[in-house]
Symmetry: C2
Subunit: 897 residues, 2 copies
């Protein structure tokens, strides 16, 4: 049991959220800066933890402390809790450190019983008001404390109104309400197995216990899991003197934001109701009015409120979300907290407040979150349109790649490419995608899959290309044969329009209007501030000129990962790549390599020109060669069918087809691997089949020379993947250095190329000192590094156990989304330390998907990397996160003094 | 250039092998202990390195030093190099630190020319001898130094003999030899483009250069690669005064071992020839006599030689391999080195020498190698029988599991089991094996596969069970249809007898007699000494009572790894396991689990009884469940065929079969993984499907209790595999602790069980401190740890690139055979340090295959592990290696003072 369990509002402050909860801490703060807050006190979160520690019992001396605090309120208001003559009524509310709206319980008007009711009638001069409060209190208390469900009371009320032939609660008279209160009380006795407690102190003690219990009700637990709020922080209990907005036309209640939370505009934004309580607003019985009209209805209170808003904004230096009540012309503040905002508002608020001098630029940077920016960077659905039209989603899948898209449904990649390239807008809908679909994905506005998780092929590729994607939408049933998909009874045929929202996972029928990204104005200003603040450089992962330009537009300072094999998967190239792989003679192979050389060189020229002198890291071929060949299973099926056909029909032509397919099958069988992730790929391939990487190196440097001759500088950085032993890098680098030198010499131009390696295996980190001697740069490939450090195959883990692991809290997070600092991060730190010691000039970066994740970026900043690289659409987020990390550093540095 | 380039024999010693080479150092040693060694000097290996450093040129002042050294010899012998009157002739021989027999070049009789020849004639009084020496010198020198091939000289000699009508060199007269020398000289002039050098000093300089050059001839390079001798240590050059064993019947030459190198018996062992030179022995012109007959032929020299042998043995404290020449009754020692020996001899020598007081027990332990023991522990082919009968192998594959086996060929596991279990001896011959074959492998004497490496399924299982195996024998062509295999033209039908030698990879037709393992006597004595010396405890990996008993017999102190899933693969169980996996209701699943519970319990009872109180580590289920199901590809093939059959025939019965198969296919498809190594297995499975491990824990503890009631103590250690995050262990351990506690309570017996985890993922090592809090023991699973640290799938890597990597020296060794200390070892060290800090009582062991590899065992000793665990047949080797590591430690400790 802590020393002090109960705090009067004047004893606390805004920075005591851990102990007093968010609501309570802010009530204290408002009290202390002199705002009109109905007096009250807070029972701390420590007590909640003790409550659970003691198996659900309040500490023995708690109520003594509560009585002392209550006396303070009584003195303040000149009323007395439980005094029939001049009774004090209170509200009892939960309030944890993090806002959990509607998840826990609230009781109003506590302290009422048959005796104190008379005092309220006397004080208010309004018996109907008092009886109404009483019957509401009975219902709320019984629901929360005595487990008699609210709806059973509503049923009684409904029957009574029916018997009286009335529609609205307001039509009920004082006598009606008296009768209802009577019926409620006997209903309680019948269902709770006890009388409704009339002693106000018993009411209070029971209410406090109930609020603590509500911390662990089902919906609160689910909410915390969703929002990643720890289970053990507990809730505080706020006990506050009641005030009433329903005491006549000189009373009212309202909520407001000090600025517009949707746009960030500096105008008061909110609603109010005359002669009403907060409950009425929530219940939707009457439609509230815009806050500006309060100027006419309650002019003095409005003026006072405007002053308070401005005072709170300067005090908190942020846009605030407020609740207030006016009781007979007296304004009371009931709640204040930092207001939630949209991405657009967050940016505007941050920039404007900094410009107003309210906050520093550093603070402005800290005010905007990654998800705020993410909203801004993609087209989004016009929510107002949905609201106005009552449009509901057809189905909901996983939010796999952010942004909304509108297009006609197509069911295969070829048609998507055909329609898309002819200017039509299409959404590619598949059970799941595979590398053969990439040309179709590229031509689509958006992608919708029925299966696969957030890291399925569709999701990863879509995020890489910045294409909106809803994945794993299991409600949809794709019928490829009939070229349609269905959801329940709804059938969507090829060519029909749909809208998908990759930020929410929702799928809608028809075209929904979209709102375009807003990246000018305040956004640009904020990004500039970020660039001034950050130490990490930000690059993008881009495999083609289009992505490179997109990345530049978003502020990328180079390309951190250009995957050459993505070029191999393109439709016109795959046959040549297959020719190269399956070549039976050196001549055949070289012929294919020569063709690829020209194509790759043109690719690189395009990228170099786009990047205009900025560094470009090109990764040499990485995946196992069988990825470029047809699927073994499909081929096997075909072969078995053909064998039977030959057996039955004996046709010579079929026989020849069969022979070809059988040959291919045998070849692929020879190349199959049990665990391709850990097989013949990356540098292993380069060592055993050096021709491919020699061709690629040639293409890179010939392109660089060619572009330079056109007046464009280049900084190619040639990256060798999957090195686990220094000798691998040494072997390949020596070979490629020779190729590079000869190209440069032959073409008579100096190109400042460098060689480095991807660090994506534990052993590379463990022996980084040795490897660093032969590298000019390291780039952490944290996707693969996470796979091998955990022993997780991402393809298998995501679907088969990772999601469950996170749900069960076996893992704190999906390590493919947020870098695992204690495992993978420890390896990275060893690597950085050892490598820098050997080679202080080594350039260090990260190009895994973590390069776009804010928490991971902060870690990279702390590691002292030189840059992060992420998909083009994540570049602004990375710039922000890098700046936030640098700003935090500075703040920490100050604290450390 | 080092200070001193040339060492006289009296200036060196045996411990200067690095600088003087092995041969030279031992010549020095013999000289210094007063043995009769023809005088000479050594040009150091440093000079060789300088030679290569200078692009193949001798250091400029080398020959000056050589002249000074030569003067010393001249003074000693009263002869002069190049002096026609009293010429000194020398031999020039290579000699590196490690013996490379026949790999580099030797020149005899150097210093001969037309003038010195006369001096030799005068001194020896034997003109024919002198001319014979001359023509031999011309040939040897020209071959080695002038690149005129030896065979071209042999051709001239052959033609000359033909023209003279003689068969044998000995039939050639002095005149013949003069003529041949003349022809040789003009042959040189014609082919070398220069005259044969007549100046002895030029001859010497050229010969020294040639010896250095021969360090890098092709066969030397290949040999070094094979024997893992570094390329950069270089060779020394030994220059020594010539002595002649062919000066008449009071001369001779011979080689001898001080004890029998085949058996270790303490008898002089060797051969000699009267009136002959070493060359003649090598050339096989005459058959040498047993050394004992030298007592009659050259009695005085023999007596002297016996004394020298004994002197050398006491001096070197080891069995020595000697070469000598007797020139006119004068005995000269030409070479001495520690003798190579068989496994049997090594053990006997070590034990006897220790008993004689010649060496300490510690030294005896160091004298025996793992491969010596390995020879003893398995039946081996009677090599004498092969020799006597001129038997050649039919084919050669990889030596995959040591030992020889004789049996009848069978081509499938079922027949192997049937024949084997009915008492027949069989060799299972397959393209490759898979888990379905295990029952047949167990019943076979040996296994022969056409495909797969040293770590293929066949090899790993065979080594585990101690069954001889030749794997990847690509020369054999298995024709399963006709039930035969062929090699070239030879056809071997099912039922025919063959013999395989898993220690050499050789395959023979018919039955070859085998020699049984010898594990008594000296072997047992040596093992006792090892047990006294070592600190590491040695356990075995055993999955059944048979293996457990075998392990005990070999001295195992417990079981370090009992793989429960091996029991699942047994024929009568697999259907029940499949039933469990495919169960559609909880009831079905529990029914299957119940059946398995009884079976597993009986397994464990057997093992516990066998181990009689020694600790037994049982690993809970590890492989992905789909490993227990039919192969997807095979099923797919069947389904396609059935579909077509239904389409063609439409039979209802086929339709039903198809439906069943299709259902199974769909199920298996759902469970398939792209990288099963990194998928849903180990503890992941236990967390998501807790039923299986709960059943296993129950089975373990019920068995322990049952066995205890029969009076046998047990120490079960329950091991949870593949933990990567502490929460995994925590989750499963809590669940299983509860099961364990309830079993023990229910049955009313105390069992000292413990829970621990396998450390086989990088992340487990990186976060070992956290994991150690929840474990009572750790066991390194270095197979998987190597896979994930390197990112190598063992199944793929071995065949696809690992062998090439080792050949190309990209990797120093196959990391699955010898623990990679700088990568995997560094992780292990971190793990041990962090874990012991948190939990000093933690028991630490290793149960990967490295647990049986001597170098890895030494590393484990240094890490301070508590035990190693290996396959039963490796237990004696592990005991030896552990003792050697401990002895080395002690030696090092002494040096450190």
């Amino acid at each position: 049991m802590p020393e002090k369990s109960v705090y009067l509002f004047r004893e606390g402050s805004a920075d005591m959220r851990d102990l007093l909860g968010g609501k309570g801490a802010n009530l204290c703060e408002m009290t202390n800066i002199g705002l009109p807050v109905p007096p009250g006190f807070i029972i701390t979160t420590d007590v909640c933890r003790d409550f659970y520690g003691e198996g659900g019992r309040l500490p023995s001396n708690l109520m003594d402390e509560v009585r002392v605090a209550m006396e303070d309120i009584e003195r303040d208001l000149g009323k007395k809790f439980g005094d029939p003559a001049n009774p004090l009524l209170v509200s009892v509310r939960s309030g944890s450190k993090f806002s959990m709206p509607g998840m826990m319980d609230t009781i109003l008007n506590l302290g009422l019983n048959k005796d104190t009711l008379q005092g309220i009638i006397a004080a208010s001069g309004n018996a109907r008001f008092a009886w109404d409060a009483y019957r509401r209190f009975i219902m709320m208390f019984s629901d929360v404390v005595l487990d008699v469900p609210k709806r059973s009371f509503e049923h009684i009320l409904h029957s009574y109104k029916k018997s009286k032939g009335v529609e609205d609660d307001t039509q009920l008279s004082e006598q009606d309400l008296q009768e209802i209160a009577r019926q409620f009380l006997s209903h309680v006795q019948a269902n709770a197995g006890r009388e409704f407690p009339s002693d106000p102190w018993s009411q209070l003690e029971m209410a406090v216990e109930a609020v603590f219990r509500s911390w662990n009700n089902d919906r609160a637990i689910v909410y915390r899991r969703q929002e990643r709020i720890p289970d053990d922080i507990g809730t505080a209990v706020n006990v506050q003197a009641m005030v009433y907005g329903n005491m006549g036309d000189d009373s009212g209640t309202g909520v407001a934001f000090t600025r517009d939370p949707a746009t960030g505009e500096k105008v008061l934004y909110g609603e109010f109701l005359v002669n009403a309580q907060g409950e009425d607003v929530v219940a939707g019985i009457r439609t509230p009015l815009p806050i500006s009209q309060m100027a006419d209805a309650l002019p003095e209170s409005y003026k006072e409120f405007i002053t308070i808003c401005s005072k709170l904004e300067s005090h908190y230096r942020d846009m605030m979300d407020l609740e207030f009540t006016v009781e007979k012309k007296r304004l009371f503040m009931l709640q204040c907290r930092v207001g939630k905002r949209t991405g657009a508002a967050a940016v505007r608020l941050a920039v404007e407040m900094a410009n107003e001098g309210l906050i520093s630029k550093e603070a402005a940077i800290q005010r905007v979150t990654a998800s705020h920016l993410d909203q801004l960077l993609h087209p989004r659905i016009d929510e107002k349109h949905l609201e106005d039209n009552g449009t509901k989603p057809l189905a909901t899948g996983l939010a796999a790649s952010p942004g909304a898209a509108v297009g006609m449904v197509v069911f295969d990649a070829d048609r998507a490419a055909e329609w898309g390239n002819s200017g039509k807008k299409v959404i590619l809908v598949r059970d799941e995608t595979n590398p053969d679909d990439v040309h179709g994905m590229l031509a689509a506005q958006g992608i919708l899959t029925a299966r696969g998780g957030k890291t399925s092929h569709a999701a990863v590729v879509a995020r890489g290309f910045g294409i909106p994607c809803v994945a794993g939408c299991e409600a949809i049933n794709v019928d490829l044969q009939s070229r349609l998909f269905s959801v329940g009874g709804t059938v969507v045929k090829e060519g029909a329009w749909i809208t998908i929202d990759g930020s929410t996972g929702r799928v809608y029928l028809d075209k929904i209007p979209l709102i375009d990204p807003e990246v000018g104005g305040d956004f640009a200003v904020l990004m500039n501030w970020c660039d001034e603040a950050r130490k990490l450089r930000v690059r993008a992962n881009a495999d083609n000129p289009r992505d490179a330009l997109q990345a530049l537009e978003f502020g990328a300072e180079g390309i951190g990962l250009c995957r050459t094999e993505h070029m191999f998967f393109e439709r016109d190239r795959l046959p040549i790549v297959q020719q190269m792989i399956l070549a039976e003679t050196d001549e055949e192979r070289e012929l294919a390599l020569d063709k690829l050389l020209g194509m790759q060189q043109r690719d690189f020229e395009g990228i170099f020109e786009a990047m205009a002198g900025k560094p470009v890291t090109i990764r040499l071929i990485d995946p196992p060669l069988h990825e470029f060949l047809p699927s073994y299973d499909e081929l096997l099926e075909q072969v078995v069918e053909l064998r039977l056909a030959v057996h039955t029909l004996g046709a010579e032509s079929i026989k020849r087809v069969l022979e070809d397919k059988e040959k291919m099958l045998k070849l692929i069988e020879g190349m199959r691997e049990s665990n391709p992730m850990l097989g013949l790929r990356g540098v292993r391939l380069s060592i055993l089949f050096p021709g491919i990487v020699e061709m690629q190196t040639k293409a890179i440097l010939q392109a660089a020379v060619k572009v330079k001759k056109r007046g464009v500088e280049t900084q190619p950085e040639i990256m060798i993947p999957l090195v686990g032993h220094v000798n691998e890098l040494k072997t390949v680098r020596e070979k490629l250095e020779a190729v590079a030198a000869s190209v440069v010499e032959e073409m008579g131009e100096q190109i400042p190329y460098t060689f480095g390696t991807m660090i994506e295996l534990p052993r590379a980190c463990l022996t980084a000192g040795a490897i660093a001697e032969y590298a000019q740069f390291f780039s952490f490939g944290t996707n693969d590094l996470t796979q091998t450090t955990f022993g997780y195959s991402r393809d298998d883990a995501e679907g088969k156990f990772l999601q469950k692991y996170v749900e069960m809290k076996v893992l704190p997070a999906n390590p493919f989304e947020t870098l695992d600092q204690s495992g993978v991060g420890r390896l990275m730190k060893m690597c950085v330390d050892d490598a820098r010691q050997v080679n202080p000039k080594l350039k260090l970066g990260i190009c895994g998907e973590h390069g776009g994740d804010p928490a991971s970026i902060e870690f990279c900043h702390k590691l002292g990397l030189d840059y992060v690289s992420c998909s083009p659409f994540r570049v602004p987020i990375a710039r922000l996160a890098a700046a936030q990390a640098a700003v935090s550093d500075r703040v920490t540095a100050v604290v450390d003094k």
